[in-house]
Amino acid sequence: MEPIIRLENVSFSYKINEKTKVSVLKNISFSIIPGEYVAIIGHNGSGKSTLSKHLNGILTPDNGDVWVHGNNTKDTNNKRSIRQTVGTVFQHPDNQIVATIVEEDVAFGLENIEVPREEMKKRVDEALNVVKMSQFRHRPPHHLSGGQKQRVAIAGVLAMHPDCIVFDEATSMLDSFGRKEVLQVMRKMNNMGMTIITVTHHMSEAAEADRIIVIEDGQIVMDAPPREIFKHKQELKNLQLEVPSVSQMAEGIHQQFPDFSTELIQEDEFIDEVMKFSKVEVI
């Protein structure tokens, strides 16, 4: 299938001033297929947000190219259609607030692409509903709590109905229930065909994806399904990462019971394995 996003030999440096440059992305290549659910992990400063900003042309590479549906992000004529294809929820919700009222903030992107009034209203209602912020629609977004701002930021991108959403640590200020709700939304959108790319420091969240890309010092060091990635416990540790809690527990149990699987990454699987191991009643 034709990739929705394709990076070829992408390099990027931030220019601090005339003399100093910080080289961040180093010759990165990969493709995302429509409908994929990809998690990007890596330690602080490894380049995840910089990479995310390349996926819809907020930043463009110094060397190499990024194509979105075959359109090069460097070509300014493509800007509009690229932003419509790939929406980004930034790491920092304050940087995303553009209006003085929540519902206008959520509608902002829709006005830009001239969505008809009726349709706009419908989409804003829907998006605010999904993130459970409907009762805040008339409040000023910069006067909200941290988690509320994050929810509004998510709504703004959902309302755009893009083909792909990039979530850059979009749930960092949410409680475990809020985070689960957003994960469910991601899963649901993905099931309906939307491409999901999520940057996260929560390994149990990354375990939900179909594919994990591990970034270190601006390069891809691993790219595989979660089950494969989380086999590399020591390598992940060296990269300042870890495996999900249930994988750690499975490992501990395995030391006592060698038949207990170490390849568990999700809670449900872990529970099933414990049950399989202790079928007293069945006998």
Partner: protein
């Protein structure tokens, strides 16, 4: 309650933008006390008033009604020595960008200690120490520009700036949000040590129940601008009814143990860390294996 609490909040209320059409009640009669040397976690849903509550502790917000007494100083009084208060209470905001002002990382972290009038050598030592606590390499990062940082790096700089003040009371709003697993674990270990060994009083707001279980002596649960529950991690996380009533999450380990309990396994849910929870499961697996052998023998 033994000694005089170092923080005492009584019936505290706060309304944002009072008297305007945008008026919003954020706190309505919150209570809390903290004894010297305690480590307290404040948890609760988005918008429950956690950040608003803790911004009262260093005088950033003044009690609109109700009382806030910090180390004997009543903040509802007109004349409060805010400078001394800020020296005593170090508060790290939920959003680190609200806290970083200087252009260069080293200068930003040095700002507080410098203002305290400490000798340069001491300032430098403190900056070094604070950067090591948060896991920022001194030589590599001290001259880097603050605007040119990743999200996690910004949080580390903001944390270091407050730690360098060596406050008596450390107040942290979501200290580990956006930190990678290693940085998070190391920071938590260090905060725990400062609390246990140097008797630093710590109050932290968190959505991460792993760290709440690991660090807190007591937990306050906020809902709708009020404290609705308070107890030790053991009291809170083992009370299934209350967890459900107040919609409180648990560490992932405890969640697994609850599920096993529901399936009829005799595990104790009072095992928060990965190693404790693993032990607990190993115990029942040993048990069931023995039961199994008994059954087979019969």
């Amino acid at each position: 309650m033994g000694a005089r609490p170092i923080i005492q909040v009584e019936n505290l209320s706060h309304t944002y933008m009072k008297g305007t059409p945008l008026e919003h009640v954020a706190l309505k009669g919150a209570n809390l006390y903290v004894e010297e040397g305690e480590c307290i976690a404040i948890i609760g849903h988005t918008g429950s008033g956690k950040s608003t509550l803790i911004q009262h502790f260093n005088g950033l917000m003044r009690p609109e009604s109700g009382k806030v007494i910090i180390d004997g100083v009543d903040l509802s009084k007109k004349k409060v020595d805010v400078k001394t208060l800020r020296q005593k209470v170090g508060l790290v905001f939920q959003n680190p960008e609200d806290q970083i002002f200087e252009k260069i990382i080293g200068d930003d972290i040095a700002y507080g200690p410098f203002k305290l009038g400490l000798p340069l050598k001491e300032v430098r030592e403190r900056v070094k120490w604070a950067m090591s606590v948060v896991g920022l390499d001194f030589e590599q990062m001290k001259d880097r520009q603050t605007f040119a940082l990743s999200g996690g790096q910004k949080r580390k700089v903001a944390l270091a700036g407050i730690l360098a003040l060596k406050p008596k009371i450390l107040v942290l709003d979501e200290p580990t949000a956006g930190l990678d697993p290693k940085s998070r674990n190391e920071l938590l270990e260090k905060i725990k040590r400062l609390n246990r060994e140097e008797k630093l009083t710590v109050i932290f707001v968190s959505h991460n129940m792993e760290e709440v279980a690991m660090l807190a002596d007591r937990i306050y649960v906020m809902a709708g601008g009020k404290d609705v529950l308070c107890g030790t991690p053991k009291e809170i996380f083992t009370d299934k009814e209350k967890l459900q009533l107040h919609h409180i999450g648990t560490p992932e380990t405890v969640q697994v143990l609850y599920r096993l309990t529901d399936l009829g396994y005799k595990v104790s849910v009072d095992a928060f860390s990965i190693s404790e929870a693993t032990e607990e499961i190993i115990k029942v697996l040993h048990g069931t294996k023995e039961d199994l052998e008994d059954v087979q023998r019969v």
